[in-house]
Assembly symmetry: D2
Homo-oligomer: 341 residues x 4
C-alpha cells in the first residue's frame, strides 16, 4: 500500500533530522529566542531581500491562520475567502472561534479576483453587517491552482485602494513557486501582500510555518498573540533548526520541485490515456476523474482521497505528491492504472 | 556559561531523536491517527491501568490548557487557580481569550485546598458573578511544591461534592511523581481528577503533552476542539513517536529522576552553607535566596532567572534542572557558589 | 412624508405607555425579579398551555439570538440558517463574535426544510469542520413568508432524529400567527421547537422579546448568560409591564392583525394593477416590484427601503406595516401609486 | 415595606414618561438615527462644551462596558480595575467573555491611583503575560466614594504617559458630580478620560447610558460594535427621548441632588447616634455598620442589602437613595432605627 493521500505522510527530510541531532545538546533560550530561530529568520529575510519584515515561526497552518487573522482584525471586521478556502471549510471554525465571520465567495478555480472581492464589499453597506477587512488567499490553492504574478498584482492593488489586508496562506507555497506555470518569486511576495506564510509542514519539515508580516502597522506585539493562542513553543529551536536547514541552501525549493515533478509525471501519464481533471493544477495536488470501478480497484494498493462525485459513474480523486514521493511508486501507480483502463 | 534557566534548554533525549530517525520514511496517516500515536496512547493507558480514559497528544502546555478548559466549560463558567498558577499569570490571558474568567486564590505554597476553593464558591452567589466550575492545579506547582496523595484525595472529594471539574496541569508531572516526598503513582491520578496532562516538553521530548480525560461526560468531540484551537498537528506522528519512546519502558521516569537528583544535589549542598529557600521544593525547580552580589557574580558563568526580591540585599533565584543537566555542571556551580559565600 | 420603512417607527401602543405610567412609582426588585415580569411570564405560560417552559424577557432580537445561541452551543458547534436569515447577514457577526460559525443555505423562500438541512449535515463529516448543531429559522421569515404547521412539524422531527436544536426567531411571530395563511397556534410551537422568542419590539412594545426555552437540557443557568451578554436590565419591570399588557388580553394578536390587514390591503390593491411581488408574503412585509421612476416619485412622499434590483428598469421595494399603520396612509399610498402607473 | 435596596426600584421620572407619551406616534428612523437621539447627543455635547466627542446611547451599564472595552482593546490587552470594580466582580465575566482579562487591584476606597496602576504595569513585563492597556474606574465607585479633580488629573496624566486608555464607568456619575465633596464638573471629564458614560438608569431613566468617546482614535466604527454586541435598539428613540428630557434643562442634576440629599440625611442622622460607616461615602450609597439584631429588626419594614460581615455581632448594610426616595420614608427609617438603638 502506497499513499498519495497527502504531503505529510512521512517525517522530515533526513537533513532536517540530522540538524536536530547535531544541535541536540546545545543549550538555547526558549520561545523562539534561540540562535537557530534567529538565524533562520535572517536567512529568510535575505531570500526575501527585505530587512524590514517581521518573521515568526509557528507550529502549523491553522494555528498560523487563527493567530494572524485574530491579531490583525478588530472585533467587527471579517475575512473574505474563496468557498474552497481552508479557513472557510477545514479549520473547524477556528477563525469564527476568535470572533470573526468568514465571508465566502463561490469561485471556479479557488482564486479570488478584485471583481469577486468587490461584490462582497458592495454588499456590506452598513453597521448591521460585518465590515470586510482581510482578504485570505492560498497559493497554491486548496484545489491545486496557482496565482500568476499579474493576478496577484491586481488583487494587491485593489486591496490597497480599498484599505483591505491581503494575507496569503502558503501552506503549499513551495509547490506554487516551483510550478512550471509560476512567474512569481519568493522575493516578489512582500511587495504584494501584507502578510503570508511559508509552509514547512507540507514541504519537508516535521512541522512549522514561517509567518512574514510585511505591513508595519500589523507587526506590533505579535508575540503576545502567538503566546495567547498557544503557539509559542518552549523549544522554539525545533522550528528554528528546521527552517534554518531548509533555507541555508536551496533545500526548500529542491523539495518542492521534486513534489511537482512527481505530480507532473502523474498528470502527464494520465492525460495520455485521456483522463480528465477536475481542475487544471500545475502544483503538487492533482484531481483526476476516474470511473468508480477503477477507483475501487486502485484503492487496494494505493491510498488517496475521493474528492468529489462527478456523475453516477465517475468521481474525482485527489493525488498528492511530496518531497518524499518515490518515482517508482508513481510509475507503479501509472502502470496499475493503465492496466485498469 | 551553563544554563539552569529552565528544563527546555536542550533538544530531546537521544533515544527520542533516534526513534524519529528510525521511523522517518514510514508513511502514516495524519492528525494523530498514525500508528505511533495509537500505540503511545495504548502504552499510557496500560500505565494508568485504565482502558476507559481518552488520551490526546498535544503540542504544548498553554495549547493544552486552553483547549481543555474551553472545551469543558460553558460560557458563564470560570476556572479557579492559585495566584501562582500558570493559567493565571503566564499564558497571556489564553483562558480569558476563550471567554472564561480565571478566579485566583492567594496561597502560601502554590497549592489549592478544599478550604481555599470553598472561599471562592461562597463568594460567588448568583448570576451577577461567574459560576466557578473548574479547579486548576499544577503538580508539581509553579513554585516547585508537590501534592501529597491525601491532599489530592481531599481536594478531589470536595470537587465531586460540589460538582466541580478537577484538572491537573502536569507540565512537570514527571518530576512531581519522582520526587522523594511523593506518594502518588501515575495510576492513582485518574481516580482523583477529571482530566490531567503528562508533560513531555519539560521531560525529554522536543514537545508534547499527553492529555488524559477521565470523566466520561468531558470526552465528547474533543478532537474538534483540538483542531479548532490550532493544535491538531498534520504530522501527529511527531508526538506519537516521542510518547511511545518515553513510555515503552521506564524512560519517562528515568529522565525525571535524573532532574530531581540534580536539583536535590543543588539543594543539599546549598543548605550545607545555610542558604535558605523561598519554597520547600522537592522537585526540579528550587528557589535559593542569595545575596545580590553573589547573584551578580554567578551570572557571569551561569544562566538562571531572578525570581523575586526578598529584601534590599537578597533575592531568590530559580534553578531548574532537567533530564539533560550534567552533574559536573551542578558541582561546578556549587563550587563557584561556595567560593563566593 | 409617511414611512413604511419598518414596524418600529413609532413608540408603543398607548395601553403599554399607560401601564408604565400607572405602575411607575411602585418599588420593584431589579433584574427581572419584579412582580410584573413574573406575571407576564405566567400569562405567556398560560397562553402556551405549558408550565414546564422557562421564559426570559430580553431587550432586543440580536441580543436574544446571540445570548441564546451562545448559551446552547459548545465551542465547536455551529448554527445553520437560511442565507436570508437575520443572524447570517444583519447582526454584524454577532453569533460569530461569540465564537460560532453560521452555516448558510441558499433558499427560494427564506425557509429551511429537512432536505436543505440534511445537505449541510452530509457535508460536515469530521473534526476538520464545525459540527452543525442548531437550526435557526425565522417565522415570519426575513422576506415575509411563513411556516405552515406541516412544514414545521417535519423540520422538527428531522431535528430530533439528528439531535439538532431547533430555534425559532419570532421577531415577527405575531404577524406570522395572525396571517390568513397561518395554521399554527402559539401553543403549538413549544411542541415543535426547542426554544423560540415572541417578538415585542416589532409588535407594539417599546422594546422586548420573550424567550421561551422548551427543552429541559437547555434551561440551566440561563440568567447567567443574559447577564454576561449585557442583557439583564436593571429595571426589568420595563419588559415585564409591557409583556403583561400585551398578554393580559388579546392585545398582542390584535396589533399583529392590524399590521397584517394593512399589508393585505396594500398587496391586494397593488395586485389589481398587476404589480408583481418578489416573494409571496402573507405577513406584514411585502416586496412589490416597481418601475424605478415610480419608485423615485413615491419616495417624495413615502419612506421605504429599496430591497433589490430586479432588472435594469425595475426594483423590488419593501413595505412594512405595523400596529400603528394608519389606514388613511395606506389608501393615500395606493392612490398615489395608481396615479403613477 | 420601603426599599433602600437600590436606585432602580421605581420606573422613570414622570417628565420622562410624559415625553414618551407626547412623542409616541411620531414616526422616527430606527437604531439611534431618530431626531430625539440626535438632539440628546447635541445637548450633551453642549453641556460638555465639546463638539469633537462621539456620543452613543446604550441600554445598560454592563452592555456599555463590554461593548466599549472590547471595541477599544486588541486581543492580548487587558483592563485594570479595582477589586471592587463592577467589571471585575459583578458582570458575570462579561469582559472576559469578549476575550480580555481584567487585572484587579486591592484598594482601600475603591479608587485607583497612578501608584496602584504602576504596580500592575511593573509586574507585566513580557509577552507571557497580558498587556495592561485600559484603566477602568467608576465615579462614584461601587462603595460610594468619589474622585477629586486632582486625583483624576494625576491618574489621567499617568495614563497618557504610559499610553493607557482611561475609561470611567459613570453608572452613578450624577450622584458623584452632585456630591458636596465633588469638585469636578461634567465638562471637565472629557479632558481627563478617553471615554466615559453618563448613567441614566440609576438617575431617573427607565434605562439608558450615554457613552462619550473623547479620544479620536477610539471612535471609528463604533456603531458596528454596538450592533454586534446586541445593544443597538430598533427603537433607539426610547433612549433619545429620555436623555433629551434629562438634559434639556437641569433635570439630570436635580435628580442626583435629591438622591444625595436623602443619603446625606440618612448619614447625618445615623452619625448622631454614633453609628460608624464602612466607607466614607459622600454619594447616594452609604454603608452603615449595625448590630445584627438591629439589622434583623429593620428588615421587617425596610429592604436593603447586607453588604459585609464586620465582626461576629455587626454587619455593614448598604442603603441606596435615588431621585424617587421619599423624605418621609427616610425620616421613618431614622426614627425606627433610633428606637432600636
Amino acid at each position: 500500500m502506497y499513499s498519495f493521500k497527502n504531503d505529510y505522510s512521512e517525517g522530515a527530510h533526513p537533513r532536517i533530522l540530522q540538524a536536530l541531532v547535531d544541535s541536540n545538546l546545545e543549550q538555547e533560550d526558549g520561545y523562539g529566542e534561540d540562535r537557530f530561530s534567529q538565524k533562520a529568520v535572517e536567512l529568510i529575510k535575505e531570500r526575501l531581500g527585505r530587512k524590514d519584515v517581521d518573521i515568526h515561526l509557528l507550529a502549523g497552518g491553522t494555528q498560523t491562520n487563527l493567530t494572524t487573522i485574530s491579531a490583525f482584525l478588530r472585533p467587527h471586521e471579517a475575512a473574505i475567502a474563496a468557498n474552497s478556502g481552508h479557513i472557510f471549510t477545514h479549520e473547524t471554525g477556528a477563525i469564527e472561534a476568535t470572533g470573526h465571520k468568514v465571508l465566502s465567495i463561490e469561485t471556479e478555480d479557488g482564486k479570488l479576483t478584485p471583481l469577486l472581492v468587490k461584490t462582497v464589499l458592495d454588499y456590506h453597506t452598513d453597521e448591521h453587517m460585518v465590515k470586510p477587512k482581510l482578504v485570505y488567499i492560498s497559493n497554491s490553492t486548496e484545489i491545486g491552482t496557482i496565482y500568476k504574478k499579474e493576478e496577484l498584482r491586481r488583487l494587491s492593488e485593489f486591496c490597497r485602494e480599498r484599505d483591505l489586508i491581503l494575507y496569503m496562506d502558503g501552506a503549499r507555497l513551495g509547490s506554487a513557486l516551483c510550478s512550471e506555470e509560476n512567474d512569481i518569486e519568493l522575493c516578489d511576495i512582500p511587495s504584494f501582500v501584507d502578510a503570508f506564510y511559508i509552509g514547512g509542514t507540507k514541504n519537508g519539515s516535521l512541522m512549522g510555518e514561517a509567518l512574514v508580516i510585511c505591513r508595519e502597522a500589523l507587526k506590533g506585539d505579535f508575540r503576545y498573540h502567538i503566546k495567547q493562542k498557544g503557539g509559542l513553543l518552549a523549544k522554539g529551536r525545533l522550528l528554528g533548526i528546521q527552517f534554518y536547514e531548509l533555507f541555508r541552501d536551496n533545500l526548500f525549493f529542491d523539495l518542492a520541485e521534486h513534489a511537482n515533478k512527481m505530480s507532473g509525471l502523474l498528470a502527464a501519464e494520465l492525460s495520455k490515456v485521456n483522463i480528465q481533471f477536475l481542475t487544471q493544477s500545475p502544483s503538487n495536488q492533482i484531481f483526476p476523474i476516474l470511473p468508480n470501478e477503477v477507483i475501487t480497484a486502485l484503492q487496494k494498493n494505493y491510498g488517496f482521497h475521493i474528492w468529489e462525485t462527478v456523475n453516477t459513474d465517475h468521481s474525482a480523486i485527489r493525488l498528492v505528491t511530496s518531497w518524499a514521493t518515490r518515482e517508482e511508486a508513481v510509475l507503479a501507480f501509472i502502470d496499475d492504472l493503465k492496466k485498469l483502463y
